[in-house]
Symmetry: C2
């Protein structure tokens, strides 16, 4: 009997918070929580894969219900399974979802597809009885490494937040085992941002600080900030300008010799390739932050890894945006440089399985079948509600 | 009293047809029909603006209802009106819609916003009592030209269609006054496409033929087609490769000296700018096909015109995709090179006001307030149903 997908469900949930970056506030942010139910029963329990979309983009209930879930459910089950018929083939499910979609226009639908794709990979790894990171390493002929670098993303603007609170927040990340932390810039005047950076650097001592402008700056402001920021030994200067303004990014290298990072708002392998072709990014020091959960999922992310390698970059230069376990699994399985994490935000979606501690800014992946959601009690409880 | 938007309504309608291009079939295609109702009453009738999304991308009811309509309806009415308060300010309505949207990711939401933006401009022109094309010319200090070039897009693949039917279809366009026609390529083997092209050229005589690959080809196939196509005096060779593969487009110029066209699947001024920066397009012969109704509307299209001019191109090189009256109005008001039309497809949305005839591949814009939907009886009947 061929493994079948018997249902695809979605609920849109708030992940609102009072934070603000240089571009948007998050008071009305939502996410889609998706369950892909299969007809496989193991140990008396139906195997269900789960997914959710990454923060910063909104839930995609409309697109999932109108286009992507129906295409899966209307497909011949044999067309979605592997040759043996004993598991799903995520690439074939992906192809079914993208039927009759025109090329280009990579936004929103890339989130809808990425969210379902996460659930499909979760189900596939569970059916194979393996952690996704081990399944991925096997498929790519690699050695999995369960130890993954993570950094603490925070330092948002919110009403009334002062330097003492910012320092206390960063101190809290160090106390929880992080040695690399990140803060927002570009949402305040440059001299205020300088004071914020100096306050954090004074607080964190030997630890490292990355700063993130969230695409806010025009070329002139990006250069002005580059000249200010190069006075400090920062971990990286992230997303200075519009994510599609490759010429701005390329010009910035003239003013900023230290590491830069970008890519979280590029949602296809074609866009990633354009960044590598045109933005003057430097493979010896810069970082690429494409987030599979916003960008058509792991099927597409593997194509993105293909263009990254073709351009002469190591997968170690990729540290995805988003702070979800899907990217942890990809990092451990395919040798990425690490993953973002938001210790205090976007719960219960982000973060690690219960009992996983951060030490020296690394975590160790537990040996849980699938992506590992079953190991995080608050998250799996929310997921079970969607499936039931 | 400040002019107010009192309601934004959307219904998703099928625009299915049995046609197929090289990339997708249209059997499940939908469009969003939108009505933006104002509190302005003229001659006993409430002024309502209408919009719809262009073909090839799906209706956007979910995004419109969840994000974009609420942001307009929750905004302070004064923040959406012009300084005098006696009309809407489309750019301010646009800014309200795009609040808390991150940069990048230009797809789907660009369609949702473009559809509402069309309705907002329709309402704005109606409140000013002028045809949109005259309002636009005034605002830009230009002379409006009601005479607009149009070409007939067709030549799709569909089951059982043979060369005789293809020739008859093209003959029909000539009989209706077109002197430039377009057909699809890339959905059949190259030698069959060559026979299709030769059949059409034999049929149309002095008239001109454009061909459209809908982004289907990889570099090798695009070059192979370029070598075949350059044997014929074509009007243009359209969208050979993936819309974001600027390097492919640039390489193609080495093999194809005649005019090429692309841009219908680029949905922001940033993407348009990248095309102009990186794709080796030639301002003396190539054509740009950005479609405002898929790309955040006329507010964004004006920014796109800005980057087009900054790159040294004439607005005459723009002939938008989509075949809707919105682009006709922009062409007549802002001096574009013309507009696509689909004489037999996507009704009642596409096409011209009743009684407007094509002569020598040009139409003359009637002096109707707004975009001109009230002049097309089947379309305005469908629109009135949304508003009532």
């Amino acid at each position: 009997m061929t493994v079948r997908i018997i249902d695809v469900r979605e609920v849109t949930k708030p992940i609102a918070s009072p934070i603000r970056n240089a571009y948007i506030d998050f008071t009305k942010m939502t996410t889609s929580l998706v369950a892909v139910a299969t007809d496989v029963v193991r140990d008396g329990r139906r195997i269900v894969g789960y997914g959710f979309n990454s923060n910063g983009r909104y839930g995609q209930g409309g697109l999932i219900r109108e286009r992507f879930a129906p295409r899966i459910l209307e497909a011949d089950p044999g067309s979605l399974a592997n040759e043996a018929g004993d598991n799903l083939d995520p690439d074939r499910v992906w192809a079914a979802m993208m039927q009759n979609e025109k090329p280009g226009g990579h936004g929103e639908r890339s989130v809808a597809v990425g969210t379902i794709d996460m659930a499909v990979w979760d189900a596939t790894a569970k059916i194979s009885g393996k952690p996704l990171f081990r399944l991925l390493a096997e498929r790519h002929g690699l050695e999995a490494d369960p130890r993954v670098f993570v950094y603490a993303a925070g330092g948002y603007y919110y009403p009334g937040k002062d330097l003492a609170q910012l320092r206390a927040e960063m101190r809290g990340y160090l106390d929880r085992g992080y040695t690399v932390v990140k803060m927002k810039i570009g949402g305040a005047p440059i001299e205020e941002d300088r004071r914020r950076i100096e306050a954090v650097l004074a607080e964190i001592g030997e630890a490292r600080l990355a700063v993130d402008a969230n695409g806010r700056f025009d070329l002139e402001t990006a250069i002005q900030y580059a000249k200010m920021l190069r006075d400090y030994p920062l971990f990286w200067y992230e997303e200075a300008g519009d994510p599609l303004d490759y010429a701005l990014q390329a010009a910035l290298a003239e003013f900023y010799p230290r590491p830069m990072a970008t890519g979280e708002n590029l949602f296809s392998h074609q866009d990633a390739r354009n960044l590598l072709r045109y933005a003057g990014m430097r493979p010896d020091r810069d970082w690429l932050q494409f987030d599979c959960a916003l960008s058509y999922g792991l099927c597409e992310y593997q194509r993105t890894l293909g263009v990254v390698k073709a351009a002469g970059w190591s997968p170690r230069r990729l540290i995805p945006h988003g702070g979800h376990q899907m990217s942890l699994a990809i990092a451990a399985g395919l040798g990425l440089g690490g993953n973002e994490s938001y210790p205090d935000l976007f719960q219960p979606y982000g973060g690690f399985p219960d009992g996983v501690a951060v030490e020296d800014s690394h975590i160790a992946m537990p040996e849980l079948p699938g992506i590992g959601f079953e190991g995080k009690s608050d998250l799996i409880a929310a997921m079970h509600k969607v499936a039931e």
